[in-house]
């Protein structure tokens, strides 16, 4: 087990190295010059050239890469071209909103989707099952921004229950923190509820046809115990996989929700950095996302051990 853990963690290094080289080269090949963006609309070519020089963008690519990777190895992700702030500090500011939103969303989605999926599997073909499938189709089909604006209109503007936009850090109090997270999490969770519920339904349906379920029922176990202890427990591996992937996607892919609710998270930072060609920030954020993906995958693999005793590493 420890050897497995160590091997997986060591395997992260080449992954990150490949990501680093790939992102660095891709950014330099993409059209766009950060110096022109920084200089502003009224700047002349001469001013842009001065800024390029001061940012070190006129250095050969290999030199630029060497400097950057050297700094990364020392734990320094560099300084944003725009904000004169270290990339680590910028990411630090944006990490909490993204993590809070992702965790709230996934907790909400799991809390709703798993019971719904189990119930739908249990009443396979019944009205609940059909309602759930209908909801799933709706959840997959409705664009996140449409749902976001609808919820804002109803809950915030018409009823005045929750704020329209923004994020409050936990340090500013649990109340404001939660109030600002409810609508975005609800908006984001719909698609994950649809996804997780469908996977749960399919897995549990399959498990319910197994012999051990028939045996459990024959032994006279109550139905809820059959569903939770026998069917759900055996159907957990694909569900956990989907939840893990969902969490990974949430961390890097909540930009639309972050925009609709003006949440200063990593998604918006990434898009802003890409639009502004802020190379050090993009590189730093992508590296961070890679670390997240690797760690989440590792966590999923470890969860398999707990969920399925037949799995051994």
């Amino acid at each position: 087990m420890l050897r497995f853990l160590a091997a997986r963690l060591l395997a992260t290094i080449p992954v990150l190295l490949v990501v680093a080289v790939f992102v660095f080269l891709l950014l330099r090949l993409t059209p766009g010059d950060p110096a022109a963006v920084i200089a502003g609309d009224n700047a002349t070519g001469e001013q842009i050239e001065q800024i390029r020089e001061s940012l070190g963008l006129n250095e050969p690519l290999i030199t630029q890469f060497g400097i950057w990777i050297g700094n990364v190895l020392r734990g320094d992700l560099g300084e944003s071209f725009f904000f004169r702030m270290s990339v680590t500090e910028l990411i630090g500011q944006r990490l909490e909103p993204t993590l809070a939103l992702a965790l709230c969303t996934i907790v909400l989605a799991v809390a709703i989707a798993v019971p719904l999926g189990v119930l739908a599997a249990w009443r396979h073909g019944g009205w609940l099952d059909r309602a759930l499938m209908g909801f799933s189709t709706l959840g997959f089909s409705i664009p996140v921004f449409v749902l976001g604006y609808l919820l804002i209109w109803l809950v915030s503007l018409e009823l005045g229950w929750l704020p329209v936009q923004g994020y409050r850090r936990l340090s500013e109090g649990a109340g404001p923190f939660i109030r600002h997270l409810i609508l975005p999490s609800l908006t984001l969770s719909v698609i994950y509820i649809a996804l997780i519920a469908r996977v749960t339904r399919a897995s549990v349906s399959e498990a319910l046809t197994e012999d051990y379920v028939r045996t459990a029922r024959a032994k006279g176990l109550p139905e809820w115990r059959v569903l939770t202890r026998h069917a759900l427990a055996n159907a957990a591996v694909p569900i956990v996989t989907v939840i893990g992937i969902g969490l990974a996607l949430l961390i890097g892919g909540v930009v639309v929700t972050e925009s609709v609710y003006a949440i200063p998270g990593l998604g918006r930072l990434t898009v802003d950095a890409v639009l502004a060609r802020d190379f050090p920030t993009i590189q730093g954020v992508i590296l961070l996302f890679s670390v997240f993906y690797v760690l989440i995958n590792l966590a999923i693999d470890l969860a398999y051990l707990a969920l399925d005793p037949r799995i051994r590493y």
């Binding site: 022109a36 502003g40 001065q50 001061s54 944003s80 500011q93 704020p163 109090g173």
Partner: protein, 521 residues
């Protein structure tokens, strides 16, 4: 005792315990863009200019009638030969750190500004030197009389000659400053700055405003709120929702589609703080075919019809207007001299001119920024008009930052260069032919597109030397005529983005852009 301690704990946990500043008057503004660069001399971005106006002061301001008025300066003396200008600063001016503003600070600030700004550079080219006479008095000595001394020092838009402490202003012009001490009406709270989320300023208790009424960038800059928060919201619908819910007080530049919604809301007012608005232009690349040929540029000019382009872009008839001048309509130098083709667009004539030009069907690469809503529709209609005139148009879609990077390239269009693009300028930058960059024709040193015309440059120089207003008007008209003769660019009309605000907000200053002083809530 235990009960109150517990209550305090619960209140803190649920955010009920108010922060120290919550009793203060806080003005929450959604600015027109995210603040990224903090040095207003290093970049020409308008958002950084606005940031600068909050924390720095200027020697002179420009009032809403276009007159330069003293701001930090108390007195100006000009020698009879107009070559020696002596300025005395107002008494009691202090930086945020309590240190007095001195002549040395002013000189260092002007020198740094002049290394980055075209108008500053021109002023310094006439200068024989800047000397401190004493702590509050400094002298500008000119090699020969220059007609735009006060206009330069009171330049209202990017780059603005903001006054910084000498220790800051001595930062090389190609490096950004790290210290944001100013002497303006507000203080930048760097410790509360969260890029992409929030920018915070607090009232400067040391600031001594002038006694005149505020107007443009001149007059009394009285901070009437304790704290200003710029809340960065990029999505136009979210901006509108936040304003409707009262979560923000002001949206500086809403999307045009939001105004009809605001007009129906009894709690929201629409305030025009910048009546001059913005001017859209079509810019040609003079280096490469087909627009290296003036006859082809004239044919394109004849095809451009402002009204349908503006209608498509803005939509709201009260927020756009045609303007047949390179200078903002209604201002001192506005004239229709030389604007025949612009004022009377004619596709038949355009086709004829194109035929006479010998245009060989070379595709015109017109860059189209799809992500910048304020100009995204301009190229779409323009491309259609050019096609109707006989041009082969290759409209290439890209994001604005790619366009900004690409327009700086002088390569051939087939090798990553370009032929034409469209943009908008704040009209405050177009008030005279020195700040109006589109008419600069100094070849390699000119603004993107690089027109090259000695006669036009000579006229701009003559404008700088003109000693009185009537002569300046005469030269400005000649500049317009020559610029349109060689077709440096095509003006496409003017439009506005009025401020939207809660009705509880009062005291907006009318001028050239949104300024935060005098506003109360």
């Amino acid at each position: 005792m235990i009960r109150s301690a517990l209550l305090a704990l619960v209140a803190a946990a649920f955010g009920l315990a108010a922060p120290a500043w919550s009793q203060q008057k806080v003005l929450r503004i959604v600015p027109h863009s995210n603040l990224t660069v903090l040095d207003p001399i290093w970049t020409t971005a308008y958002i950084t200019r606005n940031h600068g106006y909050q924390i720095y002061d200027t020697l002179f301001g420009l009032d809403v009638t276009g007159k330069v008025q003293p701001q930090m300066v108390a007195k100006v003396e000009v020698s009879s030969d107009r070559k020696t200008w002596t300025f005395t600063l107002r008494d009691g001016l202090e930086f945020h750190d309590g240190k007095p503003v001195t002549s040395e600070d002013v000189i260092a600030s002007l020198e740094r500004w002049a290394r980055r700004d075209g108008m500053g550079e021109m002023l310094m080219s006439f200068s024989a030197g800047l000397q401190a006479v004493n702590a509050r008095t400094f002298r500008l000595t000119l090699k020969e009389p220059y007609g735009l001394v006060l206009e330069s020092l009171g330049k209202p838009s990017s780059n603005v000659p903001f006054i910084m402490p000498r220790r800051v202003a001595r930062t090389p012009a190609d490096r950004q400053i790290d210290d944001f001490t100013g002497s303006g009406p507000f203080i930048f709270k760097r410790d509360e700055w969260k890029p992409g989320e929030r920018v915070v300023y607090v009232k400067n208790p040391r600031y001594r405003p002038r006694s005149e009424a505020p107007s443009g960038t001149a007059g009394a800059k009285v901070a009437k709120v304790d704290r200003i928060e710029w809340v960065i919201i990029k999505d136009p619908q979210t901006q509108a929702n936040a304003l409707a819910a009262g979560e923000v007080d002001v949206v500086e530049a809403p999307a045009h589609e939001s105004y009809p919604v605001f007009r129906k809301n009894p709690d929201i007012q629409i305030v025009e703080t910048n009546p001059l608005g913005f001017n859209a232009i079509l810019r040609f690349n003079h280096l490469h075919p087909p627009f290296d040929n003036v006859k082809v540029r004239r044919a394109a000019m004849a095809a451009i019809n402002q009204a349908p382009i503006l209608r498509a872009q803005v939509g709201l008839p009260d927020m756009y207007r045609t303007c047949f001048s390179i200078f903002p309509c209604g201002t001192e130098f506005a004239t229709e001299v030389g604007m025949d083709l612009v004022a009377r667009p004619d596709l038949k004539r355009a086709r004829q001119l194109l035929k006479e030009s010998g245009y060989d069907g070379t595709p015109v690469v017109l860059m189209h920024p799809t992500d910048l809503a304020v100009i995204a529709k301009l190229p779409v209609v323009t491309a259609q008009l050019l096609r109707q005139a006989g041009f082969k148009v290759d409209m290439q879609s890209m994001d604005w930052q790619t366009l900004v990077s690409r327009r700086a390239k002088k390569d051939r269009p087939s090798a990553g260069g370009w032929n034409a693009f469209m943009t908008v300028w704040a009209n405050v930058d177009n008030l005279n032919p020195i700040t109006l960059q589109a008419v600069g024709a100094s070849c390699d040193k000119a603004w993107f597109g690089w027109p090259c015309d000695a006669q036009l440059e000579k006229l701009r120089d003559a404008f700088g030397r003109a000693s009185d207003a009537s002569e300046r008007r005469r030269v400005a008209a000649q500049i317009q005529a020559r610029a349109m003769e060689i077709v440096t660019h095509v003006p496409v009309g003017e439009y506005n983005f009025p401020v939207a605000a809660r009705k509880t907000v009062k005291g907006f200053v009318i001028g050239y852009f949104f300024v935060p002083w005098n506003i109360e809530k």
